[in-house]
Amino acid sequence: MKASDVELQGVSRLFGDFRAVDDVSFQVMAGEFLSLLGASGAGKSTVLRMIGGFDHPDTGVIRIGGTDVTPLPPYRRDVNTVFQHYALFPHMNVAENVAYGLRQERVPTTERRTRVRDALDMVRLLPLSQRRPDQLSGGQQQRVALARALVKRPSVLLLDEPLGALDRRLRQQMQVELKLLQNELGLTFVFVTHDQEEALAMSDRIAVMRDGRIEQLGSPTELYDRPINAFAANFIGLQNFFEGRVDGSTGRLEFDSGAAFTGERAAQGVGAGERGLGAVRPENVQISATEPAADTNKSKGRVAAVVMLGDVLEYIVVLASGMEVVSRSPRGRDEPWEKGHEVWVHWMPQNAMIFPFDETVMRERELSSRMGGKPEPGADDDTDRPPPRE
């Protein structure tokens, strides 16, 4: 099968005043596995639907394999979709569902039968070919949907959160299968998900979306190690955030208490004197009993909780200000800390980043705070919450 590239240029979709997709431009390389990652309402499904032809952009152009497909209906595009809830035709059995697309192409009977058989074999559902969709489990339905789309040999496959309805173990299994399938077939996959772990695991590149725009487009490593703003830093993986003000001369993030945070400045830097967010990942936060030598990137606190995550131990350290810092380390590497220990948390500047302050990110973190130990926000959205004094 030949893979095509997909290109969006200046694509927007408005529903009244609401900008579901706001001037989005990007390109999916032929044979690439690209994920559209974002929360509900970010616009990722709308983008996918427009590529598939189920929705019309208000502005912009969509090209598949170089051809402008923007005015074309779905049945004229060389694209097939695996829908979120599979959309298997209830009045047909598995084999008929898979054969449907080939019938529309008027494929000769013998060839059609062979291709249907091969497609079902590929997803290992040949024995169930006479069953009806309501007699299948979620995972089986998902594979039928996949076979139904792939049997047509499209140059691009669109997948709209296809693994959402599956349980965790099955989902992980299907992630691997899908990735292997994509490698083997060499097709272009455009995959929509809200699960960042899923995106990281499967994608060649990820487009992180928020409010209809692409925040960052890059490989999983790029997104993990070099997020361009607080949103991207927070969305992928875990992150500790410190609020402070940037000192113009030193480039450090200063807190009211006098403590400071040094890190690499994000590409979209913070201006001098402005509020900023210091970010450091839990696996880079170290814990020690004695105060570290460096004069920045350290704080004193008490171990409030120890969480056993199998291969990793997670420590929740509460600082004097009430802020929680999360630290992770592999089990067995060091002597584990215990609840109640007075410790110092510290990290290296090269593992830390400073971003412009983002109110939405901080509010969202407030809502999903694990222990609820942060001070009550009240109306104080504008004040800093500095780490403790030394």
Binding site: Y75, T81, A87, F89, H91, Q104, E105
Partner: protein
């Protein structure tokens, strides 16, 4: 009294039988359906008494003689007209009503749907009798419609369809259109839009999607609406009575004639039972055919694998 295997029922529920919650429905069914039908069936086996003071029917001698009289030439002729009128009426209702139901379910913005369905049912707030009578005024030879048709040149003589089978046909279509539209609308509305999208994604155009996906999924609603309309139309008494005159006779009127005019309840009862029997056959055949259509299509197409 049997207790549920897993739950101990306490108090009043311990005494009542397990199906007690269906009791109201059972009572309704027994009182309003089983009893009258049984009585009619029994009456059809009795005879009209010579002495009127003995009542409408006596059971001195049970016989099927009434059925002989009931299934005479007149009855069959009228029965055929009834089937034709009801059948044609149902067909026209379906051809007119389906696009309406389809538009309502797919093209109309969601917030307009309930108000429009309400408008569709609004005529039923008026008496069936009065609405049908209104058609007498519309279809009158010296009425508005007649004048209109003559003024635009479609007709040269006054409109003469009143008191004929055509008028009855019109009345049937008019009165039963919402009954066809509603079940079809509900069936179409329930179809997940994702199915249509999937169909188009797989290469079927609008017509192909409609024939291969939308229509098959709407069949239960279509069959329900069509059968309901047909059964009601076949037994209709009001429309032929008001619009049909002497030429627009249907079985409903025939039964009424026997019972009211000829004062022969047993024969009327026999006619009613024959009508019920014949309709049951028609319904069974049509219903099976509609649902068996899928199997026939499959047979013709051959297996997919």
């Amino acid at each position: 009294m049997r207790l549920s295997a897993t739950v101990r029922r306490t108090g009043l529920r311990a005494i009542l039988p397990r199906w007690y919650q269906a009791l109201p429905a059972w009572c309704w069914w027994l009182f309003f359906f089983v009893t009258p039908i049984t009585w009619v069936a029994m009456a059809s086996l009795g005879m009209k008494p010579i002495d009127p003071s003995r009542g409408a029917v006596v059971f001195d001698q049970l016989s099927l003689a009434n059925y002989d009289a009931a299934t005479g030439n007149v009855f069959f002729a009228v029965f055929l007209i009834t089937i034709k009128t009801a059948g044609l009426g149902t067909l026209i209702c379906f051809l007119v009503g389906f696009p309406v139901a389809y538009a309502l379910a797919t093209k109309v913005p969601v917030r307009w749907r309930t108000p429009l369905v309400f408008l569709l049912l609004l005529p039923y707030w008026t008496s069936f009798l009065l609405r049908t009578f209104a058609w007498r005024i519309i279809l009158a030879p010296q009425g508005e419609l007649s004048d209109l048709l003559r003024s635009i040149g479609l007709m040269s003589t006054p409109l003469m369809i009143l008191d004929s089978n055509t008028a009855v046909q019109l009345g049937i279509v008019y009165n039963y259109l919402p009954i066809v539209i509603l079940p079809i609308y509900v069936a179409l509305d329930r179809i997940d839009p994702a199915f249509k999208q999937a169909s188009m994604d797989l290469g079927a155009g609008r017509l192909g999607t409609f024939l291969q996906v939308t229509l098959p999924l709407a069949v239960p609603g279509i069959v329900g609406g069509v059968l309901l309309t047909f059964i009601l139309a076949a037994g209709d008494y009001v429309v032929p009575a008001i619009l049909g005159g002497a030429k627009g006779l249907m079985v409903g009127n025939l039964v009424a004639l026997q019972v009211l005019a000829s004062q022969n309840l047993p024969i009327g009862a026999a006619m009613a039972m024959v009508l019920i029997g014949l309709l049951a056959v028609v319904v069974t055949v049509v219903g099976t055919a509609a649902f068996g259509l899928r199997s026939i299509v499959r047979l013709v197409r051959g297996p997919a694998l």
